[in-house]
Symmetry: C2
Subunit: 556 residues, 2 copies
């Protein structure tokens, strides 16, 4: 009997949608050789992470075990799978493997962070295997909303594991490989110890729809519009961008790609050979010469991002183009939870310009890239794993996915971020709980989620900020009056006198009565001044602000 074991540890993505990062290990307990699957990001919001630029998984656990890591495998090129490669690679310094399109995007991520892009190696798909310590890893083609998405077939001494990555079951994805049930059956035939499976659409009851169903609808739609047509989708959804472009062409329109990400993605797809028949496009500089009814723009910003092309067009003239009465804006996309207000804001801005806005309400112009409930059930049935471990989903998704597996008599294991599973035995066992978390890219600095920086920002935003300056002389007496500045607070409150005047008056009153033991002690004095400010503010404006006190002593 071997003392070696096969472990699985999600560091991100299991308990959230986004920020995927999974670890597999094989070897003696506590000394397993490790591989990493995906290094993704998630995006900040004003509610919880104001000012933050990007959110990465906390890889402290991995960094401490760097010498045990064999390689990083990237399943596909979505930001929530590849976005952290550039930021985090320097802490791991191991080879990165991916298929050509994904590898190209990963290299760009490395370059952007001044990391060596030759750390990324391009890999052929199944049946080719990459040897990584005790693991043999193959990229098994699978359809998704980006080309070359792949499941990983991870062969270990304890058996075969399939990590699906993100996927849908699309027989006609238009760009990239279709789902091939026979190939999957063949891969599953020797027996699969564990299926680590995408869970994002587990609550969607109908079978997924193919990318190919959209073409005729989009074509009909674009052809029937009287003015300029502008369509937005994720730039990385190459098949969709192509469908939109072909619809434009078919309607006799010149196609313009707008937004850096859009042009880059298409370019990368062409260069890596995944896109071979993209129609001719026109540079935006020439768009002004083309009658608007002969124009079709395909633009970035389907999620309402402030700086993307769709938001710029909603605000007014952008690169010489301006939408108006008779023009049409199409969201060939779904709105990710949390982005609703931004997207709605853009819709209304266009409405004010007289632009006809069409979204995917009717289901005609968008299909999801993830496997729905019946599709998951189908893949469970093909793979028939010993264990099903749901990944990529919020807790509720993982939970529902475990139950779904049970319907097929498959043993599902709920393992949120930080749960280390031993998958070697007959029963999956939780062997450890690892501290996981998030790292913020904040300007040019990486900060921990619990460093308190963001908490201070939120407090200032909710409560406003008062700064108190006080100078004390050699005899520990105040020099002049205390001075207040406020930021983010009303100018006047209940007494209709400027708030700073009331605060300074009350601070002055306090200082006149203060005991010497307070006046000589910076900490006590600051605390007392802070309390005075908070109490006065409460009675003047009904809120207690954040307070910073600076006491300067001339004696010092």
């Amino acid at each position: 009997m071997s003392a070696d074991r096969l472990i699985y540890l999600p560091l991100g993505g299991a308990g959230e949608i986004g920020m995927n990062c999974y670890v597999y290990g094989y070897g003696p307990a506590g000394d397993e050789r490790l591989i990493v699957v995906d290094l993704g990001v998630t995006f900040p919001d004003m509610d919880t992470t104001p000012g933050v630029d990007l959110i990465l998984p906390d890889i402290a656990w991995l960094a401490e075990r760097r010498d045990r890591i064999e390689a990083i495998f990237v399943t596909h090129a979505h930001e929530d799978h590849v976005g952290a490669v550039g930021h985090l690679w320097r802490r791991l310094r191991v080879p990165v493997f991916a298929r050509p399109f994904t590898a190209e995007i990963a290299r760009r991520k490395m370059e952007e962070q001044d990391q060596p892009d030759d750390a990324v190696t391009t890999v052929e798909p199944w049946p080719h295997q990459v040897q990584a310590g005790p693991f043999k890893v193959a990229f098994l083609p699978m359809s998704h909303s980006i080309p070359e998405s792949s499941a990983l077939v991870i062969d270990t001494p304890a058996g075969r594991v399939i990590h699906t990555g993100d996927f849908k079951l699309d027989p006609t994805p238009l760009v990239g490989e279709p789902f091939d049930p026979e190939l999957w059956a063949e891969v599953a035939r020797p027996g699969v110890r564990a299926l680590i499976c995408d869970s994002t659409n587990v609550f969607t009851d109908h079978p997924g729809r193919s990318e190919a169903v959209l073409g005729p609808e989009v074509e009909k739609f674009v052809a029937s519009q009287p003015g300029m047509v502008v369509a937005t989708t994720f730039a990385s959804n190459i098949a969709r961008v192509r469908t939109l472009a072909l619809a434009g062409m078919a309607a006799g329109r010149s196609v313009v790609l707008l937004g850096r990400a859009m042009r880059r993605m298409v370019q990368t797809a062409v260069e890596t050979g995944v896109l071979t028949d993209f129609p001719h496009t026109v540079p935006v500089e020439d768009a002004g010469l083309i009658p608007r009814e002969s124009l079709m723009l395909i633009v970035t910003g389907s999620q309402g991002e402030r700086r993307a092309a769709s938001a710029q067009l909603a605000r007014g003239k952008y690169l010489g183009l301006e939408l108006g009465e008779g023009d049409t804006f199409l969201f060939s996309s779904k709105t990710i939870p949390g982005n609703e207000k931004a997207v709605i804001g853009i819709m209304n801005a266009f409405s004010e310009k007289g632009v006809e806005v069409v979204d995917d309400r009717g289901g005609l112009y968008h299909v999801s890239g993830h496997a729905n409930r019946p599709d998951l059930k189908l893949i469970h049935g093909i793979v028939r794993p010993h264990f099903l471990v749901p990944m990529h989903g919020e807790h509720r998704h993982l939970r529902a996915h475990v139950r779904l597996a049970a319907e097929s008599g498959i043993s599902g294991v709920l393992a949120p971020n930080g749960t280390m599973l031993d998958l070697s035995g007959d029963l999956a066992q939780v062997v450890e709980h690892v501290e996981t978390g998030r790292t913020y890219v904040d300007g040019s600095v990486l900060i921990g989620a619990f460093d308190g920086v963001v908490r201070e920002r939120i407090r200032m935003a909710l409560n406003g900020h008062v700064m108190v300056t006080l100078i004390m002389d050699e005899e520990d007496e105040p020099v002049g009056d205390p001075w207040c500045e406020t930021m983010g607070l009303p100018e006047t409150g209940s007494s209709r006198t400027p708030l700073v005047d009331v605060l300074e008056h009350d601070l002055d009153q306090f200082l006149r009565r203060a005991d010497d033991d307070v006046l000589v002690d910076d900490e006590k004095l600051s605390e007392a001044l802070r309390r005075t400010v908070r109490n006065t503010a409460q009675s003047e404006i009904g809120r207690k602000p954040e307070v910073t006190v600076v006491v300067s002593r001339l004696s010092a």
Copy 2:
């Protein structure tokens, strides 16, 4: 020919969902007698209004014409129609008219703001009319997701206007009056000059569903759950609360109302006679004695509000109750755009506890309170107004509603907030654009949306804040070194030295080189110090913070 005219002016609600406030006027141009319909609120968010407690319409235009206002009419008791009555009444001081349930809620709003609750007068429904200057106003019963919602039939010398308020066409609303097409036809028979019509559901293509369809489904659902059942909905949706309570009873469960708003709303509905058959409830203190499979809680917090009962239960033990494996949480509600993340957070917190969470995905446990597209068309057809003016909706809703009216050959007029229409003539004319906006309730203070207070908060949240203190002596030379404090910024940056040390060092360097004409001039000196801080921060941490500089001069 009369020089008098009939005007319509939305101050809130036309260009947004929420914050309803509409003005009608009749008389000589610029000297019309005025009535106000609804004084509602909308809710702040972290993205645009951090720290703000509540958002009211800016009624400056009305306040300046206070002597011309005859009365305020409140169509129903939802916050976005009645919520600002207490805050704004003191600036108008005119009688408020409403039906009993609504009047009771309005009185409570007055009390909460120390305003005289006898300013609110209870009114009988149609055919009773309130005379208000040149207007005769009647409350015409209409179904909605709250009892006693009413359209207003506003008779003027220029003809009849119908202001729908919020409504749906429900023949069986269970609580409150059903939609009565014959009554509406009778009211419309003399001819209707303008129909001012709710637009919120203009994008929903199927006919609305009755509140009554939910009962059997909810009953079946509650009966089949093994443990405690907790259901949430809007407290003001009395019919829904009753449906949930009856389902609990039918399943042999004791019913507990949790959350102050929930108990108050039911109590008000009982007291005002709109609710006559609410089942017996059990105080929460007694719930602990009841086996969990015999308990049904109906709780506040369907939108994920942090302090409401559902969020409290998601966090842990609340009032002695704790949910766990085998228990069920039902959202008998829809999530309002912008609240998705909060609601999803609650779902996941329950999932972690093993609680089964069910929402309205399948449409079984919630129906909307607003008229859908076919319902709007139906009411257009019954009323056949000379003009259709869409209200209560974002710009895109108003726009779509104008088009919908055109399908029935009715002339629709797009009039967003601030658009004053003259409805007297054959053609509706825009006669004025009035400055409109929002007023923030911020602690105990009312502030204008453009006062800059909120902008400062957002800046601090996005950029962090640095405070610089510098003391200058009688000869305009620095006393000691400049002092920096930071809030919301990383402690160290690229040089790995504490950020404040680097800032202070660079400020010191600057001061050593500074010209006398800068040192003697507070404004120049502060600006130069601010610039130094921003540049140093940019190179250290990659961001430019907000900076407050305090220069204290001992000579002064």
